[in-house]
Structures are given as C-alpha cells and as structure tokens.
C-alpha cells in the first residue's frame, strides 16, 4: 500500500529545471532510497514533499490527500532530518529537543519521556546538557535526527544524514534507521553514498539532472546491467600495445586505464581470464593483481549516465 505518491513532479527555478517530471511512490513500512549525485534534485524533491515549497506542477499525495492543497495532512505525521544541522548551537541538546518537541505540540511529562527515549535511540543521553556547539559532527547529526523523531512521525525523511561524519557515528545512524524501520516507520533516505542505499533500502530511485533514470529494488536495478562485470587489473606498466591487444579479446566492451591500472567492462567476464593472461604474456607487461567487481548501483549509475556517482 502506497503511503506517499509523487506524480510527474516538477520544480523550476527560472531557467533551472531542478526537478523535471519525476514519478515514484513510497510504500508503508519500507525504506525508500533516492540515490543520485549532488545536484541531482534530491533535496528539492524532499523540500516539496516536506511542504517547504510548492511544486511548479505535479502532484504529491499522502494517504490519498494532496499535500500541496492540505499541507497540514502531512506536517504532523512527517519527520524531516535535513542534510545540514538545523539546531541552535548555543543551546544544549536538551534545550534543542525540548524546543522541537514543543514545536510539535508535545508538553510536560510526555515530552520528557520522549526525550529520554529518543536520547537512548540516538545514543547521546550522557551529553544532553552540553551545548550543541561543543558536540562533534557525529553527535550533532544524531541530535539532528532525534529532533525529527520526537513526535513519532509515520514518515521520516532523511536527507543525506551521514555527510561528513566519522565511521562510528555513521554506523550508529545506519543502525538507527534500520531499527526505526523495524519498529514500523516508513523512511525516505536520500544519499549519494551507494553503499548506504544498498545497505538500507528495499526500493530505490536513481536521480540525475532532475529526473529519475531508474527505479526498482536493488536486484531489479542491477539486472539492468545483467552479466556485465568490471575487472580491475593492476600491472607493472601499461602501454598502448597492451591496450590494443586487450581490446581484441572477445566480450571486452570497454578498456579504461588509470596509471598502471586497467578497468575492463565485460560481458560474461569469467570466460576471458585465459585469453587475458595469455595475451598479456605476449607483451612486456606483467599482471600484479586481478579484481572482479560484482554489478552494483554504482555500476548501474555509471552504465546509465556515463559518470560516477561522486563526480
């Protein structure tokens, strides 16, 4: 059952088509991923869903009700974790949580109980009385998430919540997302980190240049490049002779070089090893290592756009 539906959504800023006719739906209880590089239009999409600004055209419905016409229909059921830290740095974590709890209408013992629960979830209970400006980047991110959870939202939108933080905090945040989802919360997770989306999301839409270029489960997306494999070969040196010879091998579709490394795009890559080794032996180059990469979302994105996610 779809909780949120986005239909032919557009947002233009003068000449810039930030979002250009995207359509997707988010099912109740899932973690839905929006994957794309910086500038793909993910945050603009999130801002429209969050009721922050109106679309140029298109429709967004929450439980069947248009949020453009009735923003209140979603505001109290929505939690938004912005990419940037949206907190008051000179106030303590506790004061921030209290303010945002009040903003969502929580009061007294109910609010205190929620703050206690949330501080447990985000793992920051011991530092709640410290000022936000004294926190590390990871701790600020956790409070940033906590502030969006106080009112027990049905739908949580997380916009690149792990940008610029240490691995430990990142892992904690990813685990928190899974835990919240297990408890029944529907989550929209945007990121340009392919691994995070792969780890968390059951369904994914890949965005680029304001458009959704592919959607589906992880398996469905990988199927787009079914059979295609990437082989990284490290050599003692790479020259034009070697490249010309490798290109003659059957199933090799593309050869890229980077210093003493060759990246081959192949179909049925397992079958080329014999030829690869024998052909290389004919040249003056020696193979140091071979690494076969399985198809992933990065590869899908590369396949669809011709550029890497982090370009």
């Amino acid at each position: 059952m779809s909780l949120l539906k986005v239909n032919n959504l557009k947002k233009y800023f003068k000449e810039v088509k930030a979002v250009n006719g995207i359509t997707f739906d988010v099912k109740k209880g899932e973690v839905f991923g929006l994957l794309g590089p910086n500038g793909a239009g993910k945050s603009t999409t999130i801002s429209m869903i969050s009721t922050l600004f109106n679309p140029t055209s298109g429709e967004i419905t929450y439980n069947g009700e248009s949020i453009v016409e009735k923003p209140k229909a979603i505001q109290q059921k929505l939690g938004v974790v912005p990419q940037e830290i949206a907190l008051y740095p000179t106030l303590s974590g506790l004061e921030n949580l209290k303010f945002w709890g009040h903003a969502y209408g929580l009061r007294g013992s109910e609010l205190n109980k929620r703050i206690e629960d949330i501080s447990q979830v985000i793992g920051i209970k011991d530092r709640l009385k410290d000022k936000i400006e004294k926190y590390s980047g990871g701790m600020k991110r956790r409070i940033n998430i906590g502030a969006a959870l106080l009112h027990k939202p049905d739908l949580l939108i997380m916009d690149e919540p792990t940008v610029g933080i240490d691995p430990q905090s990142r892992n904690h945040i990813l685990d928190t997302v899974l835990k919240l989802n297990e408890e029944g919360m529907t989550i929209i997770y945007t990121s340009h980190y392919m691994e995070e989306v792969e780890y968390l999301c059951s369904r994914i839409s890949i965005m680029d240049m304001g458009e959704i270029i592919a959607s589906g489960t992880q398996e469905e997306l990988v199927d787009i490049i079914k059979g295609q494999k990437k082989i990284n070969i490290k050599l003692d040196h790479v020259d034009d002779t070697l490249i010309s010879i490798i290109k003659t091998i059957e199933y090799v579709e593309k050869v890229e070089t980077h210093e003493n490394e060759m990246i081959l795009t192949t179909q049925n890559g397992e079958n080329i090893f014999k030829d690869l080794i024998s052909k290389t032996a004919e040249t003056e180059s020696n193979i140091l290592s071979i690494d076969i990469k399985k198809p992933n979302l990065e590869a899908v994105f590369l396949h669809l756009t011709g550029k890497a996610l982090r370009d």
Binding site: G39, S50, V80, A86, T90, L91, E95, H102, A103, A147
Partner: protein, 461 residues
C-alpha cells in the same frame, strides 16, 4: 503557546550568547557608571563644590534709587490733585514701605541665598571688569547684571500703586558652558516671571478700583488689601524658592546618563533583532519550524515579541541598577512604566522592520549598517553622547522622531517632575514610530518572496 515557545527559545539564545549579553546588558551599566562619575561636574547639583558659579554685578546705586522712589509722587500726574494732608500721608506710607521692603534682601537673601538655590548656585558680588575676567578664565559660568534702576523698579513694582516697570536683568554667558548658561537664564527668568504674578495682581487691583471711582489713597490705605499684597509678595517669594527653583534643577550626570545609555543600548536590541529572522533561515531552523507546521506569521510575531521582551528586560535592568546602585530617581513609577512600554513597542517595531529587510534581501548588510553606523548616529541625535540641548535646533527637533531621542526626553521629563500631559507628545511619537515600523515590517514580509519559498539549503537545487 507556540509563540511563547519561540520567544522563550530566542531569549535563551540571546542570553546564552556572552557577546550579546555583554553588549546589551553589561556595557550600558558600565558606561553609565563611568560617564556619570567622570562628568559629575557638568550636571550635578549634589554638593556645593559642584554648584554653578556666577558673579552678580550691581550697576545700581541703592541709596540714590531709594531716594528716587521717594520722589516718585512729585513726578507723577496721578498725585497732582492730592492735598497736602494726603501727600503727607502718602510720604509717610512710602517711608514705611521702603523701610519694610528691601529689594536687595528679596533678591539676595530671599532668592539666591535660599537653601535649595544654594545647592545649585554659588555667587559672588563683583564689579563688571573682575566678573568678565573670571568668565574669560572659565572660573564662573555666567555674569548676572542687576542694572541701573533695578532697585527703583523693584520699589515701584511692589509698592501698592497701579504702576509696573520692566525688570531687566542682564546675563552674560560663557559660551563654553552652554548647559550652565541655560540653567542661569532659566533661574533668572523664573525670578522675573514670579515677581510679575504679584505685580500684575497689584496693578489689576488698582486699575479696577480706579475704574470703579474709588479714591486712590483709599485703595492704598486699605489695611486689609495692603496686607493681602504683602501676602502675595510672600507667596511669590515662596514660589520662587520652591517651585521655580526645583523646576529648573538640572539632572545630575548619573541621572542623565542612566537614561542616555538605556536609550542608546536599546537600539542595539533592535540591531540584534535584525539578525533574528535571517539567522533562523540560515541555520535552517526556520525551514524546520515551517515543516513542523508553525505558521510563518507566528515565527515573525515571535521575533517581534522577542525583541520586545529583551528591550523590556534591558530597560528594567538599567532602571533597577541605576536606582539601587547609583541612587538615580527615575520619578513617578507609573509614568516610567508607561514610557517603558511605549519605548519597547517602538524598538520592537524597529527591530522587526530591520529583520524583515534583512530577510527579504537575504543578507545582513542592513543589520550590519544599523549596528555599526546608524545606532551611533541615532545616539548622537538622541542625546546619548551629549545633552540634546547642546545640539543644533534641527537636531533637537529631529530627536523627537527617533525612538531613543523621544524616550530620553520622556524619561528626563519625568525625572524633572513633569506629568503625563507634558510627556504625552513623546509617548505619541514613540507609539507612532512603533506603528509605522510594524506596518513596514508586515508589508515587507507579505510581499512575494518575502517569507515564502523557504528551503533547507538555498545553495542546493
């Protein structure tokens, strides 16, 4: 409730910022204390040492002018029809009058040596040359010249006959001490004006009597009436001593600067308020509040009342500190409360207007310009650095139409004992400014793009 939540949070943010707290609360306290102490001599009337020094020059000849007064009936047509007996009676009456009434005693003993006046003025009787020398050396603030015929005119004015001569007291001021000069002029004018009350009463009595055909000697010899004139004269003296002298009492420097610094530093509250909306937007908390369903108008109202509350807090702190620690008497507490409310209303409007301008423009240039340049200009015009009276007349008038200037004048007025009618123009000015500023703020925030289209990161698409 949400608006209180926003106000409470904003006040916490302001109060937890040590720099802001230092600028808005601590700085005015320190400056008031320092300026009040350092410039004590300029304003204070607290001790003899700080009393205004003047010289009094007598250009009259007392004995000659007293004799001249005694000759008065001989040179006046009103007395030409009197018989010898009547003239003898008048002469005896004038001798008695001139024996009992001494204009010098009235001016020096009754007026300048009055206990209240002595706290303000220290005088010495000198000849004109010596007085001018002291004035040039800044040893005195003014020279008061009692001119030729001063004694004669005083006798004529106070003698129970229908005559009134102009009392012409001349003052030579020290241009380097404008404030003291103004005070001396005020004091001397009050002496002349108060004397006029009884003199006009006397003249009116005689003119009415003569019009009714009553014989002038009968009028002059009426014991009851004459006694009443002495009473009028006595009352006039009391008026000089108490009402007029107090009325012109200058504010002490501590009193003046307690108000002046308060009036100046509340402008900084408006300046700080100017940052509130755009900072909220830049911190992305504005967007977060919008997502939480807080109406944008409520956020703006929250800012308005944050500035209002902070300004109110500032003024209360200054009033409490200056009253309890520096001993400043702010005057009638209800009038002070009324001025405070009108002032905070005006400042909150100003701060919100600036905040809306910053928000609309998307940068802090307006707030920065206000805090770094405009405040100091407004403080100068409003009398926070030097007393308003010293400023050119157009600036003096202009100060009525800036919040700090109107507030300063209103507070000073109440300190001097003025009532609500006298401070009403300042209150109306403050309210008017508050209304205009608020209307401009609402207009700006309601214009397209003013408070709409908030997003979490304006740099992103």
């Amino acid at each position: 409730m949400r608006v209180f939540n926003i106000i409470f949070k904003d006040l916490k943010v302001l109060l937890t910022d040590k720099k802001t707290l230092g600028l808005l609360i601590i700085m005015p306290i320190i400056l008031t204390t320092i300026l009040g102490a350092a410039l004590g001599g300029t304003f204070s009337s607290d001790s003899d040492k700080r009393a205004i020094k003047i010289a009094v020059v007598k250009e009259y000849d007392f004995a000659y002018e007293k004799d001249k007064f005694m000759e008065f009936p001989n040179n006046n047509f009103l007395f030409q029809n009197m018989n010898q007996e009547q003239l003898k009676g008048l002469e005896t009456y004038m001798e008695n009058f001139s024996g009992e009434f001494n204009p010098e005693e009235m001016f020096f003993d009754g007026f300048l040596d009055n206990n209240d006046m002595k706290k303000m003025l220290q005088y010495q009787v000198l000849d004109l040359e010596k007085a001018k020398e002291l004035l040039r050396n800044n040893e005195i603030s003014s020279i008061v010249i009692l001119p030729e015929d001063f004694i004669y005119n005083m006798y004529v004015n106070f003698f129970p006959l229908p005559y009134r001569n102009e009392l012409d007291i001349k003052i030579i001021n020290n241009p380097d001490n404008y404030i003291h000069s103004q005070i001396i002029e005020g004091i001397m004018n009050s002496f002349a004006e108060t004397s006029d009350i009884s003199i006009i009463g006397k003249v009116t009595y005689f003119e009415t009597g003569i019009d009714e055909g009553i014989d002038m000697m009968t009028l002059s010899n009426s014991e009851e009436i004459i006694q009443s004139f002495y009473t009028i004269i006595e009352e006039a003296k009391v008026q000089i001593e108490e009402e007029n002298v107090d009325k012109q009492k200058p504010l002490s420097s501590i009193e003046y600067y307690a108000v002046a610094m308060t009036a100046m530093f509340i402008l900084f509250a408006a300046g700080e308020g100017a940052y509130l909306l755009l900072e909220e937007k830049d911190n992305l908390t504005y967007a977060r509040m919008t997502v939480a369903g807080i109406p944008k108008s409520l956020i703006a109202i929250g800012k308005y009342f944050t500035i209002f509350s902070f300004t109110l807090m500032q003024i209360l702190v200054m009033i409490l500190y200056s009253t309890l620690v520096l001993g400043v008497d702010w005057g009638d507490k209800w009038l002070v409360a009324l001025i405070t409310l009108c002032t905070t209303f005006s400042i909150a409007g100003l701060g919100t207007m600036l905040a809306s301008m910053c928000y609309k423009s998307g940068n802090y240039k307006m707030a920065n310009a206000f805090s770094s340049i405009l405040i100091f200009l407004l403080a100068l015009i409003g009398g926070s650095y030097i007393p308003i009276e010293v400023l050119p007349k157009f600036m003096h008038n202009l100060s009525n139409f800036i919040p700090n200037g109107a507030a300063l004048k209103a507070y000073n007025s109440v300190m001097l004992g003025d009532n609500i009618i006298q401070i009403l123009p300042f209150l109306l000015s403050l309210i008017g400014m508050g209304v205009v500023f608020t209307i401009i703020a609402v207009y700006i925030l309601n214009t397209e793009g003013g408070i709409k289209n908030v997003k979490y990161n304006s740099a992103k698409t």
